[in-house]
């Protein structure tokens, strides 16, 4: 096969994840040496038509137009990798899924009649088959490079889906929950960030979404016993991966409770 043709697509998102690709300053030449980036609007207005060997998709589907566009992306791509919490879980904008959408629009926009949008924000995999989902808000650029490299070699990316605690302990951090009483989602959150927040004595916000075997109910029971209030638990579970199960189900158990 010739050089792989890479495309980067943006859906509803903040651009932070695709920026991770541009942020690979030391590796950019390697990337350019390994693949032809032929569709990447954040980097260049020069766009070549498909088909593409690998499409990297950022963002969630929030409009009828995007719901159609993602079908096109799948049609012109051999492989599709979604990156970031928006693309893999619907993102923070999925909070609309649990609210009155029309009322939200009236509250935000002076002239909501000009807005054409879906009532929900959904992950890409809810619309098309996805070959690999890379988690994070934002994603880790080292993991992105591993995913691209693994794709080029036709093997499984070395990305683990266990808890963030395992990264935290490997770093030698002191547990912020046990030693400081700080609420932390690390025990139920997918690894990948290197336990960034606990390293700086903050509880984990769950940016990488639920781990493969996450059991937030058991964690929440303990946090309640430690004196964490239900509204705080609701907010903790209703962030960038608000729509991801089992975070969502557990959050709903504490919605409106006090």
């Amino acid at each position: 096969m010739g050089r792989a043709r890479l495309a980067v697509w943006k859906f509803a998102s903040c651009d932070g994840c695709q920026l991770s690709l541009l942020d690979c300053e030391d590796e950019l030449l390697d990337i350019a040496g390994a693949v032809d980036i032929v569709h990447f609007l954040e980097a260049s207005s020069h766009v070549e038509p498909g088909p593409y060997d690998l499409s990297i998709v950022e963002g969630s589907v929030t409009t009828p137009k995007d719901a159609a566009r993602i079908q096109h992306v799948r049609e012109v791509s051999k492989a599709v990798v979604t990156i970031g919490a928006c693309a893999t879980a619907g993102g923070i904008q999925a909070l609309r899924n649990f609210a009155d959408h029309a009322e939200m629009m009236r509250a935000v926009y002076a002239n909501p009649q000009y807005i054409e949008t879906l009532a929900t924000s959904t992950p890409i995999a809810a619309h098309i088959p996805v070959d690999f989902e890379l988690r994070g808000c934002p994603i880790d650029k080292g993991q992105l490079l591993q995913v691209i490299g693994a794709f080029l070699l036709g093997r499984k990316p070395p990305i683990r889906s266990h808890s963030t605690c395992m990264e935290c302990k490997a770093r030698g951090n002191v547990c912020v929950t046990v030693a400081h009483g700080t609420p932390c989602l690390g025990p139920v959150t997918h690894a990948g960030c290197g336990a960034l927040c606990p390293t700086y004595h903050r509880g984990c916000y769950g940016c990488f979404g639920p781990s493969d075997a996450a059991r937030p109910a058991a964690l929440v029971r303990d946090l309640l016993e430690r004196g964490v209030e239900r509204p705080e638990l609701y907010r903790l579970l209703s962030n960038f991966n608000a729509a991801a199960e089992p975070f969502r189900t557990e959050a709903e158990r504490h919605d409106g409770q006090d």
């Binding site: 770093r171 932390c184 025990p187």
Partner: protein
């Protein structure tokens, strides 16, 4: 004075400092306890001034706090937050780099660690854990050369325990509070009437270092005071584990309802295994550069609580938390004995303290096999 394995001498605080300085001048990197981020942690240290003076700890299931002591003891706490594990079994270790050169592959072993370490202040339970690890990683049919090299180069200065915590149960596991073997030197810190250390020699290497420090011979009073301290510690165990018939009870009750009960409380995070000084499981992963001409094989810590740990073709053989918790507990306390000749547990209590939801191994092991009441 002349020192030999078994002999006992006394160092005052200045002598202890000289001992550390000598180890440094012999080329050891000192690793010992420090108080940081609200916990006793293990860190590179330069001398006695880095040690946690006048600091104690409180440990209970899922809870750890430092507290001030009324004296200036340097080892007045139970066990540090981390085990002595990554010093010999690093959490991440590159094993080999492979480069493509034309049609050939060039295999280059990853570089080994440079300076040997001197372990300052490992508790008897932790020294026992090192010996358990030796049995698994060094003395078995497939020795781990990296582990063996790091272990061989290390100097072990143990410190006997006078201050067990609420989650300690070394007495049940017969690993403390006094170190019996596996050290070069073992100290007992005495505070009254003056701050001093009774030093027991455990090896020729320990004897050679101690002879150069100008220790004074121990008096009967020093020896009695040290014996009183550890005897007192043995009375202050926060926990106990009933070992009688434990293997049979655990393995004979693999379908006991307690496994369902604990699986309902467990978060599956893996903290117990990573805080454990004997859990040794690792994963080997391959990564490559974008050009596909350099590959690296890396060993990382793993945990039997990870869902993909037991993944084989078609899925995980332990898909439920019940299965994973049962695997861990029965291996640690029962099948380990059959496999390696010792229990996998040394009673340090870390899996209890550092479980974010406070699951207590001693309680769970006790409850499995009990009639439902």
């Amino acid at each position: 004075m002349q020192c030999s394995p078994g002999s006992q001498s006394v160092l005052d605080a200045g002598g202890f400092e000289r001992l550390l300085a000598l180890l440094r001048s012999d080329g050891f990197v000192l690793v010992g306890p420090i108080a940081r981020d609200g916990a006793i942690q293990l860190s590179a240290i330069t001398g006695i001034e880095d040690l946690p003076r006048g600091v104690g700890d409180e440990q209970s299931p899922g809870r750890y706090r430092l507290r001030p002591r009324e004296d200036d003891a340097l080892f007045g706490w139970a066990v540090p937050s981390q085990p002595w594990k990554k010093q010999f079994l690093p959490s991440r270790l590159d094993l080999v780099h492979i480069r493509r050169k034309g049609s050939a592959l060039e295999v280059e072993p990853a570089a080994a660690e440079a300076n040997p370490i001197a372990i300052i202040g490992a508790r008897p339970c932790e020294v026992a854990a090192m010996r358990v690890q030796d049995g698994v990683l060094r003395d078995g049919p497939h020795p781990d050369s990296d582990y063996a090299a790091r272990r061989e180069a290390a100097f072990v200065l143990a410190v006997n325990c006078g201050t067990p915590s609420g989650t300690c149960f070394c007495v049940s596991m017969d690993t403390g509070p006094r170190a019996k073997a596996g050290f070069d030197l073992a100290a007992t810190e005495l505070m009254e009437p003056n701050h001093r250390f009774l030093i027991e020699v455990g090896s020729d290497a320990g004897a050679r270092v101690l002879e150069r420090v100008a220790a004074t011979p121990a008096t009967d009073g020093d020896i009695a005071a040290a014996a009183d301290l550890v005897a007192g510690a043995a009375q202050k165990m926060g926990r106990a584990l009933d070992n009688k018939g434990l293997t049979e009870r655990l393995l004979g009750n693999l379908e006991h309802p307690r496994w369902d009960d604990v699986a309902e409380r467990c978060v599956g995070c893996g903290n117990c295994t990573l805080a454990c000084p004997t859990c040794f499981c690792t994963n080997v992963e391959d990564s490559s550069n974008l050009g596909g001409d350099v590959a690296t094989r890396t060993r990382t810590w793993d945990s039997c609580f990870a869902l993909d740990f037991a993944y084989i073709h078609g899925g995980s053989v332990r898909p439920t938390l019940r299965a994973r918790y049962r695997q861990w507990l029965t291996h640690k306390l029962a099948t380990w004995v059959e496999q390696f000749g010792t229990s996998g547990c040394v009673g340090c209590g870390r899996c209890i303290t550092w479980c974010p939801v406070g699951i207590d191994l001693t309680v769970e092991a006790g409850a499995v096999g009990e009639a439902r009441g």
